[in-house]
Symmetry: C2
Subunit: 409 residues, 2 copies
């Protein structure tokens, strides 16, 4: 038996061999959603740009209010409104100016008394509260200070980043082109859903290709990837080689599913070698997903995954994507929860296990329930699951009651 | 002061008034990603369709192996391979048939002995282990049984659902058309990012519109919504009314930001009433987001949110979307974690607070750290946050050490 690589080692080895040159493009903000920034973006200005009021009320000089209280109201003269901004109004000693939330503070003022802390009476107000300097004031630059990095290179661009760019007046952002990933499914027994009467097709011993749609649609959820599904090809080395050659021209990355052994059917691996490619990873100590392999063909990374949907999905999520992200320096956030295990999960020595789990609220915590199933082809284990519990290769298992990390899917 | 509605009440009231008729469309699987199913989809077949092998090995009659062990191997005659399927091979007493993972079990066989539990010797195998019936066999229907609901009406379609549909041979699915949401930002002081030199624009007391891009891009992340951004309109009742009328023709839902009081500038509300609309919700006891209001105009729901980006975002996420989802019976999963609070969070009596938080791993748990900030316009509170902690109106606050629920954003 060949020694299988630990998954972290496999990711590391493959990432070092990947050379992908992504072009840059400049997009409008909403277009750039879920793309990856290709440059650091730094704010060139302070936000707020002026001291601004946090509340509706009156801009005052804080020292004018010292000692004010309900039993000792201090009277100030209202000399106008902060808006329009061009009025250039100034607050002198003994004066106040009406402001609304967000208004720039008029010159001279250094605090804002809230409406509920004054009694209004014509052109006078009675201040019922003593204010410190900058009370209810957003100080220049306190939200975004000049020089703050709003997005760093390699960051997945989320709505919050776009809002930050807009705030400082930026309406375009440099991003990487989408990573084109070609998907080829192999297997003479595999047919596309919709190809005919399901009972008749299954009755002939064929199976519908669920792996293709699972991989393609999952990649589509990542906005920075353009999945290109190239269809099914039978177990014929020449046919596979011909489609792989097309994919190498078209895509940055090629993913083959099926025919990846280790059994006596390592056809995908033979194809890559026959085309002059080099196999870099041949089998990973992961469950499911043991056949996961990878190589370099014409300077392009090519991955060979199980034909079974769940094993292929886990190979994609925990081997293919991490190795590409690492090679390119991308930071793609993951949604992780820590929760209490309701029953023991055993591991197979030396293997990293990817256990599909359900999550529910239980007493003070979230609880994690493993979904028992043996087969890597068992679609119900992901249909019913909320997340993936990773049991590292050096861990014998987790006990009931242990707190474990689960990635939400 | 007007009494503000509790947010749950506001969602409930508004949801009962919403009448949106969404058309159905039939899409291919990958196209249907993140759309909402408009019908239940039930499997008409069993998966696996036959008893199948879980492993590489030999299909046998379990009773032939009774008593087998390493010290008492039992010999069986290999009579062929399970494939091609059309061979119609049968396993009789004393016989075995080579199978690979996923192969249908040949007639007569009811268990599979794994390769590592046999010694192969020409056309004979020595079985080293006693097997029970269905050992290493996926029994017909154990993954998906005929009649199982694969997607129920109103479900957000994720990759796992598409894989399940493909598995049973389905390649098209009925979904609702996208919910068109028109977004109009109001405010004479608001300009689009990119409109000119940022310092000069901010220096005139204007602000860049970050609310529009935040709302639009967040809605775009929901695949079942088509956001239509209609731009900025100044604080002029006639201009706002004219754009709102266009939006009513174009969209299922209208969202206005800015000018929603409660201050002395309830212009959005005046516009809706002037066009013959009815205000259903006027202000919500939420922090931030107090101005959040809603009404019905020409049978369309129209929402009025704060002009400040964070308040508008929270109003959208916790008022607008839940009321629409409830009205339409949609089930949109949320990513919730339960984690330990590292410092006290106080609440204002009667208000539901939405606290932006950072999450990090700490000892056994995840820990939650509130991001301190006063202003609802403070973009850094969402730029730096991982999630939202909701403090319900009837809770005075949470103590340090409490386990709290946080929605990941």
């Amino acid at each position: 038996m060949r020694t299988l690589l630990n998954i972290d080692v496999a990711v590391e080895i493959m990432s070092k061999r990947i050379k992908i040159e992504l072009k840059e493009e400049k997009l409008g903000l909403v277009e750039a959603l879920y793309r990856v920034s290709s440059r650091d973006v730094v704010s060139e200005i302070d936000i707020p740009f002026f001291d601004r009021s946090y509340v509706d009320g009156y801009a005052v000089r804080a020292e004018d209010t010292y000692g004010a209280s309900e039993s000792n109201p201090i009277v100030l003269k209202v000399v106008g409104k902060a808006k329009p901004f061009s009025s250039g109004i100034v607050v002198n000693t003994g004066e106040a100016v009406k402001v609304y939330t967000g208004d720039p503070l008029p010159r001279g003022a250094d605090a804002v008394v809230m409406l509920e802390d004054v009694v209004e009476n014509g052109d006078k107000i009675y201040v019922l509260k003593s204010l410190g300097r900058y009370t209810n004031v957003a100080v220049r630059g306190e939200d975004i200070s000049r020089g703050k990095v709003l997005i760093s290179r390699g960051t997945l661009i989320e709505p919050k980043h776009l809002a930050a760019l807009a705030t400082v007046g930026i309406n375009e952002v440099f991003v990487y082109e989408k990573i084109r990933i070609c998907i080829i499914c192999t297997g003479s027994e595999v047919v596309e859903p919709g190809a005919g009467d399901a009972e008749a097709i299954l009755g002939r011993g064929l199976v519908f290709n669920s792996t293709g749609v699972l991989i393609t649609s999952y990649l589509k959820t990542l906005g920075f990837v353009e999945p290109i599904y190239m269809g099914i090809v039978g177990d014929n080395q020449g046919d596979i080689a011909s489609l792989v050659s097309k994919a190498v021209d078209l895509c940055h990355v090629i993913v083959l599913t099926g025919g990846a052994g280790p059994s006596d059917q390592d056809m995908a691996i033979d194809v890559v070698e026959s085309l002059g490619g080099e196999i870099v990873v041949r089998g990973i100590a992961m469950r499911p997903g043991r056949p996961s392999s990878a190589g370099i063909l014409n300077n392009k990374p090519i991955y060979m995954l199980s034909g079974f949907p769940v094993a292929a999905f886990l190979g994609l999520k925990y081997f293919v994507l991490p190795s590409i992200e690492k090679a390119l320096g991308l930071h793609i956030p993951r949604k992780i929860v820590v929760a209490k295990l309701v029953k023991r999960v055993a591991n197979v020595a030396g293997y990293t296990s990817f256990v599909r789990v359900k999550i529910h609220k239980c007493s003070r915590y979230l609880c994690v329930e493993p979904i028992a199933a043996m087969g890597s082809g068992t679609i119900s284990t992901i249909l019913d699951s909320d997340g993936i519990l990773i049991v590292p290769a050096n861990v014998e298992g987790f006990d009931k009651g242990d707190f474990v990390e689960v990635e939400l899917i």
